[in-house]
Symmetry: C2
Subunit: 419 residues, 2 copies
């Protein structure tokens, strides 16, 4: 029940236990095509260039950035948590002139602030995290595509933490490049990074195209300045997954089976239904931790559905609580990074763990462990508030939005004191 990785859906693990196929077996190439199509639905895009990078979610980030950035390019990164810092760091290593803007952790940027920074720095690329798990905040993206388009800026986002649990529309929002991972709302294991690229981004990448000496054919044009990485050269991945089927890495078959099943489960459920499920269980968890008397970190207006950060009460040893929950109850929750390390717990409700029983059990256990750690805690306060939330949601005429209002009003609630 941490901020991810979380339990995988058992159906994903079963899919991954299938025997391997050769990468050019027609059944395998058809699986690759199917998987591309499924991720078009997940990303809500018609981009031809929708594919998997064989590595964890930061491999997807690096593939996008190193393929889009030419050394010396200006890149603007609005940072509202640790993963914004990561985008900046990866862009720097790719040779970019990186410009960073900061807001306080727990907040997000206004569209105006980002447009102003674009005007000031005239970047080739805007790179922004959608949901930053380190703070649980989610940057609104819907207005940024138009801004980028007006200023001739490529628009990239990482949706590892948010995809599948929060509204996202790659095409409607004007995204040029999007990368993700499986280990959050997609209910799979870390190790595969789904990604999608607009025709505009693909043209930039194609202009740096390269074919390896070992498999080069007459007529292959080689870019003057190829992409700095072979493994992350997206022009090669386009040729591998596309009609030419030019050999690149040996496809990670088991990982592909898993990624395909993650997408199938979401698409079968319906993306809207999946997002609504995350909203429901996320709001029940929020109501529950507030019902226990805990204070929530950050701007709740911009919280992701699938993770909540709560202040660790004064006098309570956060790591000890986490240890007891994990070792005695088998439930993992997280802390955070940098300025929030040891200050907050992060509790997730995502993917296979966006379930009523998972929410209620976690709250029941948290109450017990808080009490044993010396905190004053209202018996049944957490589970009760969550159950109320589920009842509200089930009652006709009460929208999930309205239902969660009572929770939001409790943001500034008192922090628990240790007794």
């Amino acid at each position: 029940m941490g901020p991810g990785p979380i339990n995988a859906d058992p159906r994903v693990l079963r899919a991954m236990s299938a025997q391997l196929l050769g990468q050019f077996d027609p059944v395998m190439t058809e699986y690759m095509n199917e998987t591309q199509a499924l991720y078009r639905d997940v990303f809500d895009t018609s981009n031809e260039h929708t594919l998997l990078v064989d590595g964890t979610s930061r491999a997807g980030i690096e593939a996008a950035l190193v393929s889009l950035i030419e050394p010396g390019d200006r890149v603007l990164v609005p940072v509202f948590g640790r993963f914004g810092l990561l985008l900046a760091e990866i862009a720097e290593r790719a040779g970019a002139e990186v410009h960073v803007r900061h807001v306080e952790w727990g907040q997000v940027f206004t569209a105006e602030a980002i447009e102003q920074a674009i005007v000031e720095t005239r970047p080739q690329l805007l790179a922004v995290v959608h949901g930053d798990t380190s703070t649980t905040m989610m940057q609104p993206l819907a207005e940024l595509g138009d801004i980028c388009s007006r200023h001739g800026v490529l628009f990239y986002t990482d949706v590892t933490a948010s995809l599948g649990g929060n509204a996202f529309q790659a095409d409607a929002w004007g995204l040029d490049a999007v990368t993700a991972g499986l280990q959050k709302c997609l209910a799979g294991p870390s190790g595969t990074a789904p990604a999608t690229f607009s025709p505009r981004a693909a043209a930039v990448i194609r202009s740096r195209s390269h074919v390896e000496a070992g498999i080069r054919e007459t007529g292959d044009v080689l870019a003057h300045r190829p992409i700095r990485s072979n493994y992350f050269d997206l022009s090669m991945l386009f040729d591998y997954g596309g009609a030419r089927r030019l050999n690149h890495h040996t496809e990670a078959t088991t990982a592909l089976y898993g990624a395909r099943e993650c997408a199938r489960l979401l698409v079968d459920e319906g993306m809207s239904a999946a997002i609504e499920r995350h909203r429901l269980h996320g709001s029940a968890m929020l109501a529950g931790v507030q019902g226990l008397g805990l204070s929530v970190f950050g701007d709740l207006e911009h919280r992701m559905n699938n993770v909540v950060a709560v202040w660790i009460p004064d006098g309570v040893n956060g790591d000890e609580v986490r240890g007891v929950m994990l070792n005695d109850f088998g439930i993992e929750i997280g802390t955070s990074f940098g300025p929030l390390h040891g200050q907050v717990w992060r509790i997730g409700t995502m993917g296979y763990n966006a379930r009523k029983d998972a929410v209620l059990t976690t709250l029941a256990v948290l109450e017990q462990v808080l009490r044993r750690s010396g905190a004053r805690v209202a018996g049944g306060g957490g589970v009760g508030a969550a159950l109320d939330r589920y009842d509200d949601a089930a009652r006709p005429g009460v929208s999930p939005e309205t239902g969660s209002m009572s929770a939001a009003s409790a943001v500034a609630g008192p922090r628990l004191a240790a007794s």
Copy 2:
């Protein structure tokens, strides 16, 4: 039965279907430690820095090269097949001044030729493939460590195709950096690259150490010129897998379970026994294809145990034969790359497929398909020769070496003519 990826051992797939653990769960960090220890046995090394790169085998190559090479460094790559070209290409993209030496495909280099090239080019790094599946050849490495040591050159090899099926001793042979993959003799799926680094290589990598802004602590010293990649920054992987447990990528849990099981199976069998198993079944396959009247490609003195390349007989459509074998009999064999594409078939006997029944069934099917494709073929010639080979090996006093001599003498045998 191709050159890999091949069927995974079902025990590996079962291990991969276990539920996920958080990456800092003590059980998980203990698995990480265990896996490092197991790969020390597989690589035959005492290197502390033995770890997994979360990506396919070429991710391991790129991690090693980009972490060891500073832009402008001279790198020497002796090329005897496609994967040598790949090392050169990855080194070039890492900013190296790459010097390449070639031998004809089907041959390997003498130690003298490599030493002479070192004297001529004075590289910081020698990068050479151990077994190059594109030609099935295996470069002898045992003498190169001393040569590199005398000339102050770092010594790197990729053993993806050879490890587990052929003798390999990282420490005794003086290797500084070694990378591998699971999809050959390790009987697992592509997607994880085990790797090991000598103290000398680790010192070079450590000198370029970097800690991400999001998790940096007071006292962390940052290198003036960090490694060009974040994902492949081995100094970060050292901190992640080592005592500091500094967060980097989200460990690919399922892949780690698989990599751990691959190594456990090999270590339980005993590395020598595993190599002997590959030698036995590889020599039976060699005897079998020669018994069918096929000619074998390359210098058999330097062939890997686990894959054989045979000339496609004149008048036979190689891809059609492969298609019939795959679609009608469910057996995959490969062709090769570049100058060998469409000229040879590559037939593997590796990992889970280094088994008597797999060898005999493949030979029985190949005979049927060859006959239907119009080739003249001796009925029972392949299976008979392989069975003789197994009988020889089982008879006391006949060593596997001696048993394979008869096969080696048939190298120059006549190529089949289509009838």
